[in-house]
């Protein structure tokens, strides 16, 4: 497991993001146990309370579940939830930015659509 805590975000949000990424990529399988607060805090030298706060964010988002006395586990369907949410965010995070940037570069809507088409074609050629 390789986490990277170097962004400017508050640490507990970084913890949540990193764990979410690990679930999304399948590093933590659904139903599998995730490392304990203490393990994470020791390994990355992060205050245990901060780690707990990050984990609790994912518990509230229905991605993790705490089983009394046994630890924290990835919930069934967690990956699906992440994908759905990221799809919703896709418009805000990528499309709006794309349009913004293309306006600055004087690219028309048609130009963008052509570029998108070209991207997909290239992808197909490669595979």
């Amino acid at each position: 497991m390789q986490f990277d805590f170097n962004s400017q975000e508050p640490i507990f949000i970084q913890v949540a993001t990193q764990l979410e990424d690990a679930i999304f990529t399948g590093a933590f399988q659904e139903g599998a146990q995730v490392p304990s607060t203490t393990e994470i805090s020791k390994q990355f030298k992060i205050n245990p309370a901060t780690v707990l706060k990050g984990m609790n964010m994912l518990v509230n988002n229905e991605l993790l579940e705490k089983r009394r006395g046994r630890g924290t586990f990835v919930k069934q369907g967690a990956q699906e939830i992440i994908i759905k949410r990221r799809q919703e965010h896709f418009y805000n995070d990528y499309i709006l930015n794309l349009i913004n940037e293309s306006k600055k570069l004087h690219l028309s809507e048609d130009d963008i659509l052509t570029l998108v088409k070209r991207g997909y074609d290239n992808e197909q050629d490669r595979s």
Binding site: P10, I11, K45, I46, N47, A49, K53
Partner: protein, 288 residues
């Protein structure tokens, strides 16, 4: 739950016009890690030394579970202060110093001490005064992590330590803290190094506690916003700005507040600010 309350604390040195501490108020709760920050000469060490009853105060009170700390054996045995002075007998061997401390504290963690000696690669058969400055600090660090005190005050613990030993210190601090939670107060100038470890930020400036908050609150409220000057200005109108830089029409402002409740202009970039940067801006301006 134990706690230390500092109330209306003041410290004025003879022959100096300005008091070093004019009105310090805060509470140290159990099982938290506090970062105590401030410029050189802000009075961090003095504040800690007064809490540990090393030094006299001019006014105010320090309460441990509601009881005055001054001359209070019970309270003082729960407060350990690692300072920059040489407090132990310098011509003693390190092993002798360790066994002295062990004799002073019931519940001193000998096992942890042995582990730390190994990890720091400390030679306990050396005399304290023949060790390098870094290793003299390491001896003090080891003791402060092993004493069974509820409140451990560390004044620049990593001063003079090399990169490896600094890491050993941080790792073991977190380890012993998660296994056996207690309160640490760490004063340091290398904020980047401990901003993940601490849970609370205390900023001492101009004789008062300028900032006192949980690290999450502080870091989720500190922003750097950049973009064309007019867009930035209209977006952050009404926000108390800490600092700003302008390069031609491109402007960056730093502030600590909620984001304004209005639409973000497309040309404006919002970034979070690291604690180190935030504190530097506050210290520079002397205001929040």
């Amino acid at each position: 739950m134990s706690k230390i309350e500092v109330r209306h604390l003041a410290k004025r040195f003879k022959f100096s016009k300005q008091p070093l501490l004019s009105e310090v108020n805060f509470t140290l709760d159990e099982n938290e890690i506090y970062g105590l920050f401030g410029e050189n000469g802000a009075g961090k060490s003095t504040l800690m030394s007064i809490i540990a009853d090393y030094n006299r105060r001019s006014a105010g009170e320090i309460l441990f579970d509601g009881e005055e700390v001054h001359e209070n054996d019970e309270a003082l045995s729960e407060i350990y202060f690692m300072n920059q002075d040489d407090m132990y007998t310098k011509k003693d061997k390190v092993s002798q110093i360790f066994s002295f401390v062990e004799s002073m504290y019931q519940g001193y963690d000998v096992a942890l001490q042995a582990k730390l000696v190994k990890e720091f690669k400390l030679d306990v058969n050396q005399k304290l005064n023949s060790l390098s400055t870094g290793y003299q600090s390491i001896v003090k660090i080891i003791i402060s992590l092993c004493v069974p005190c509820k409140f451990v005050l560390l004044d620049e613990p990593t001063l003079g330590l090399d990169a490896r030993n600094r890491e050993v210190f941080q790792r073991n601090l977190i380890e012993t803290y998660s296994e056996n939670p207690r309160t640490f107060v760490i004063s340091t100038h290398i904020i980047d190094e401990i901003d993940r470890i601490i849970s609370h930020v205390l900023l001492l400036q101009d004789g008062v506690i300028k900032m006192n908050g949980s690290i999450d609150d502080v870091s989720s409220k500190s922003y750097s916003i950049s973009g064309p000057a007019e867009d930035v200005n209209s977006y952050i109108d009404g926000v108390k700005v800490l600092d700003e830089e302008q390069l031609g029409r491109y402007k960056t402002v730093h502030f600590m507040d909620q984001l304004p409740d209005r639409e973000v202009p497309a040309s404006v970039d919002i970034e979070k600010m690291k604690l180190q940067k935030l504190l530097v801006y506050i210290m520079d301006r002397g205001r929040l």
